[in-house]
Each structure stands twice: as C-alpha cells, then as structure tokens.
C-alpha cells in the first residue's frame, strides 16, 4: 500500500489546502474586526444587551453544534448542561457567599458528570435513543430543581447585586459582558476549528454520515460520540455560567426550560449545522428578532418566540435542512459543481 506519493496530486492537494486556509483566514479576520467594533457602532443599552445575548447564543449553539452538527447526535436536552452551568455560580454565591466565577468550573464538572450518565448507556445504541434520553433527563432535572429548596425551587437563585471583587463578574452595562462573551466564543471557535481539521473532526463527520461504515474503518464510534458530548456539554455549561453572571438571576424556566434546548437546535440549524460559521449566523438572525419581540410584546414575546421557532423548523425541514449556509453554497456553487460533474464523468 505504500507507494511514493505522486508529486503531482500531493502538491496540488497541499496547495489547495493552503489557499483554502488563507481565504477563510481573511474572512474570519473581517468578522472578528466587525464583532470588536459592533458596540461602538450600535450605541444604547438595548443594542448592547442584544449584542451580548447574540454572542451568548452563539456560544451555546456552537457548543451544541460539536455534538449535533459535527457528530450528528441530536440533543433536545442541552438545557441540562446550560442549567448546570447557570445554577452553580448562583449556588456558591447564595450558600457560601463565594465569587460566582468559582461556580463556573463546578458547573462544568457537574455537566460532564451528567453527560457521562446520559451518554454512556445510550451511545451503545445507534439511532434515536440518545435524542429521547436527552429530552427525558433534561425534563427530569427541571422538575427536580423546581421542587428542591436548596436550589431555590420554583423561585430560583440570585447572584450578587453589586460587585465585591472582579470575580463576582458583575458589571454595569452590557458592553463588558459582550467582550467577555466574545473572548469565550473565540476560544470555543478555535477549539472547534482545530477539531474540524483533526482526526476527531473526520471521525465525527464519518459517524454522522454512517456509523456502521465508520466503525468498519476503525472509528471507535462510542468513544468519539462520548468525547463530543463532553466537549459540547462543558462549553454549554460555560454559556450557562456566563448567562447567570450577566442576568444575575436563574430559575427553572430560564435555566432548564425546554426552550433553552430548542433555541440551541434552531440557531444552529438555521445557520447551518456542522459548520463553524452556521451557529454565528443563526444567532445573529434569531436573537435580535426574539429580543425585539420581547421588547414589543412583553411576556407575550415568549409566545411569539415559540411560534417563530416552529415556523423556522417547518421551513428548514421542507426546503433546506442544511440551513442558510447550504442555500448560500447551493446558489453560488452551481457553476463550479457543473464543471465538477463533467470531471467525474471523465474519471469514472
């Protein structure tokens, strides 16, 4: 099987790879510059808050995307990881008067434990068992927490009103949160981009495309699904912790509600699951709409959000399961693809 590489194809391949990297590097540089400048261009408390929430939604959707997008294991219960991350900072503050920042690693550890409990038994099986288990466990945890006085039961827990030290992560205005969230998002995207190009990314995409075939090629599917789940759960917990330090309050609905899970699915699916940029695009579209609806209709805005999410699901299923990025590529790429198709005919 080992023949010296034909110089032609190998160098052509390396060149195409390098060109692709440089081109996407430019795109990300522009995007990063725009993100850094956004609070300066959009002034006002409402806009700053929406910007911070957009980045937060991008974090949780990107975290969901590692498992749901790349590995194709659809979780409808990621709120359990978000909730683990959100409750711990409020918990350590309420009970021990500790800095909420201390709750973040605890939330991550807790979410990893939950991930193992859900993933180890269900990933033995292929198919929908994992999806069903996520819904069941997430709802179970929500009901449990709603009735547990230690966690504030139905009333919830509060964070510090004013900052004692910087570790309270309590800032006035949303701009500081925005930049904090942006830094976390950058780390997450860096990890995901690295994963995308490494063995793990290839293995996860292979599992999504066909677990049976993947395993026949030596992919330990169960182990990789579990790794993806844990990575995904950890970053979702971070998103939860960031949420609670910004909002300063957590209750079963805002931390563990099914809408939290659904939002991650919709944001990712709308933009394009299994892509680095998809969750960012989805968050940039959905969150401003959702916040505007909340501002206009008050509590009724949540109802509007449900209806809107339902509509998005129907449209995606009917027209383009690949999301907006797929629509973009399918409009731009056809000319390229026609050329490719003729090349295949010549080769095959």
């Amino acid at each position: 099987m080992t023949r010296p590489a034909g110089a032609g194809p190998a160098s052509r391949d390396a060149l195409a790879h390098a060109v692709g990297l440089r081109r996407s590097g430019w795109r990300w540089t522009i995007l990063a510059a725009a993100a850094l400048a956004a609070p300066l261009l959009l002034q006002g408390a409402f806009y700053h808050r929406v910007l911070a929430l957009v980045v937060l939604a991008a974090i949780s959707a990107s975290a969901w995307n590692i498992l749901g997008g790349y590995a194709g294991q659809i979780s409808f219960g990621h709120a359990m990881f978000f909730g683990a991350g959100a409750y711990m900072p409020a918990f350590v503050y309420t009970h021990w008067h500790a800095a909420p920042a201390l709750g973040l690693p605890l939330g991550v550890a807790l979410s990893l434990a939950i991930a193992a409990v859900v993933g180890v038994p269900t990933f033995r099986l292929q198919g929908h068992y994992f999806s069903m288990a996520t819904i069941a466990v997430a709802e179970l945890i929500r009901i449990l927490v709603s009735n547990w006085p230690l966690l504030g039961a139905a009333v919830g827990l509060q964070g510090p009103a004013t900052a004692r030290t910087v570790w309270d992560l309590t800032f006035r205005g949303s701009v500081t949160y925005y930049y904090l969230f942006l830094a976390v998002l950058a780390v997450l995207l860096g990890v995901t981009a690295w994963m995308e190009r490494s063995r793990m990314g290839y293995y996860l995409r292979a599992i999504r495309a066909g677990e049976r075939a993947a395993r026949s090629l030596g992919v330990p599917a169960r182990r990789y699904k579990l790794h993806a789940l844990m990575l995904s759960a950890a970053f979702t917990a971070v998103a939860g912790s960031l949420y609670v330090v910004m909002i300063g309050f957590i209750d079963p609905d805002s931390g563990l509600g099914i809408l939290i899970s659904v939002e991650m699915v919709i944001v990712t699916a709308l933009g394009g699951a299994g892509t680095l940029f998809g969750p960012l695009l989805g968050a940039a579209i959905l969150i401003p709409l959702q916040q505007t609806a909340n501002a206009l209709f008050g509590g009724g805005g949540t109802g509007f959000t449900y209806i809107f999410y339902g509509g998005v699901i129907v449209l995606l299923c009917r027209f383009e399961p690949g999301g907006l990025l797929a629509i973009w590529h399918d409009r731009v790429a056809p000319a390229f693809r026609r050329r490719s198709a003729s090349a295949v005919r010549h080769a095959a």
Partner: protein
C-alpha cells in the same frame, strides 16, 4: 492461517442462516465465496467482519479469537471490508472519505492526507479527490469503497459484491484493481455473484447453499460438481462466451 472460521453458525429467530461453516484462508490467498441468493453469504461475511457475532463457533484472525470483537477492533487488527451497498460518506469529499480510513494508522491530519492521496492515486480516483462523494455514480462509489478500506492498510480485505452492478468494461478495470491489491500482499476474501469475477480472481472457492458449505476447491473443478450445478438451479456455472454472461 490468517483467517479461520470454526463451525460458525448464525441463527435469526430460530432460522439458521449459516450452519457450522468451517474454512481457512492462508496469507496471500484469494478465496471466493459463492452461492445462490439466500445461501447465507452475507451473513457469513458479517460474522467474519465483526458486524454480527456468530450464534455458535469461533472466528480467528492471525491466531487471535475475534468472534466477539467489534468492527473497529477488526479494522485495527488489519481486517478491512467493503459494503455491498456502498456506504459512501456523501456530504464530504472523496479525499475526506479515504482520510477517515487513513487516520487509523496515521493520527495526524497531514500524514493521513498524504496516505489517502497515495491510495486515491492507486485506485484511480486522484483526479476527483476534491469533489463531494455524492457526485460519484455506482462504479465510482464501489471503487471509493475499496480505496477507503485499503486506506486502513489491511492484511486481509473482505469484498462483499464489490463488483456487482458494474458494466463488463468496468468489471475488467475493477478486476485489474483487485489483482494489483493482491500483488501488494493483501489477502482477499471475495463474496461475489458475478462468476466471471470469481473465475478470474479466486484461487480457491467455497460454495454455500442453505447456510452450509457444499463444496470447496479450485474454481474450475468446483463449478462443474453436480451438487454445485444443482444448487444453482441446474444451470452450468461456466461462462459460455468471452463476454462471460455468468449464471446469476
């Protein structure tokens, strides 16, 4: 012996699809498994590849008992397989498909990419490596199936009707590819419906009927045995013309 099946049986809800099959494959051989539809070829194949575990009996690979080993463990030990219906990863490129196989022996992406490129070159798919695998037709997908399995650098390659559904010209090219793989030191077990392929490639064949081995030996000798002809509904298995219209 590289591969040994010892009294392998597989039952589905009481129905014995494979009954006490014994055979051995030595390193460097090409062994064909033939039989009429429903003879248990695919079931036996899945038992060998670790896809299904036998109800009774043992499978040994290079001396190690692999009866209950997972498919990924089989791949790691050096046994690769193709799927009868190509299980192509359609939404990624052809190169990416092969890289999944190559990652087994080359953990770093650059090395896996180089190894996959060599395999694609060998399999005649280098020109289309950067296209999405969905753009390939059946012949291309069958070829990709073989390339992907080869990328795991196997000692034994199990081909499950890897040439079915191809035109005579494509079959000739595929036979050449399989011969070249064999020349590079890979042992082959071929389940095949197209007799032309078996007669062209196999040094030894095993005939299955109703889940049992009814004959085995050199292809020319076996295909004319009365019980083998009988199993194939009384038709002769020897190709009649140069086009090789097989009995299937």
């Amino acid at each position: 012996m590289l591969l040994e099946a010892q009294a392998v049986s597989k039952a589905f809800d009481g129905f014995l699809a494979v009954r006490g099959v014994n055979f051995e494959v030595a390193a460097g051989e090409i062994v064909g498994i033939i039989g009429p539809n429903g003879a248990g070829k695919s079931t036996l194949f899945n038992c060998l590849a670790g896809e299904a575990s036998p109800t009774a009996g043992r499978v040994r690979f290079d001396g190690a008992d692999v009866t209950t080993a997972t498919p990924e463990a089989h791949a790691r030990m050096g046994m690769a397989r193709t799927f009868q219906i190509p299980a192509t990863f359609t939404d990624v490129t052809i190169l990416d498909n092969v890289m999944v196989g190559a990652f087994l022996r080359h953990p770093h992406a650059a090395e896996a990419r180089a190894a996959a490129t060599r395999v694609l070159d060998f399999a005649g798919l280098a020109g289309v490596a950067h296209l999405r695998a969905a753009t390939l037709g059946t012949p291309g997908r069958k070829r990709l199936e073989i390339a992907r399995a080869l990328a795991t650098e196997p000692r034994l390659l199990l081909l499950d009707e890897a040439l079915a559904g191809l035109t005579p010209a494509e079959i000739q090219r595929a036979i050449e590819l399989v011969r070249e793989i064999h020349r590079r030191g890979v042992t082959l077990v071929i389940v095949e419906h197209v007799m032309e392929v078996i007669l062209a490639l196999a040094q030894r064949i095993i005939v299955l009927n109703h889940g049992e081995v009814i004959a085995s030996g050199a292809p020319d000798a076996v295909v004319d045995l009365p019980e083998v002809v009988e199993a194939y509904l009384g038709r002769s298995l020897t190709p009649r013309g140069p086009a090789g219209a097989g009995a299937c």
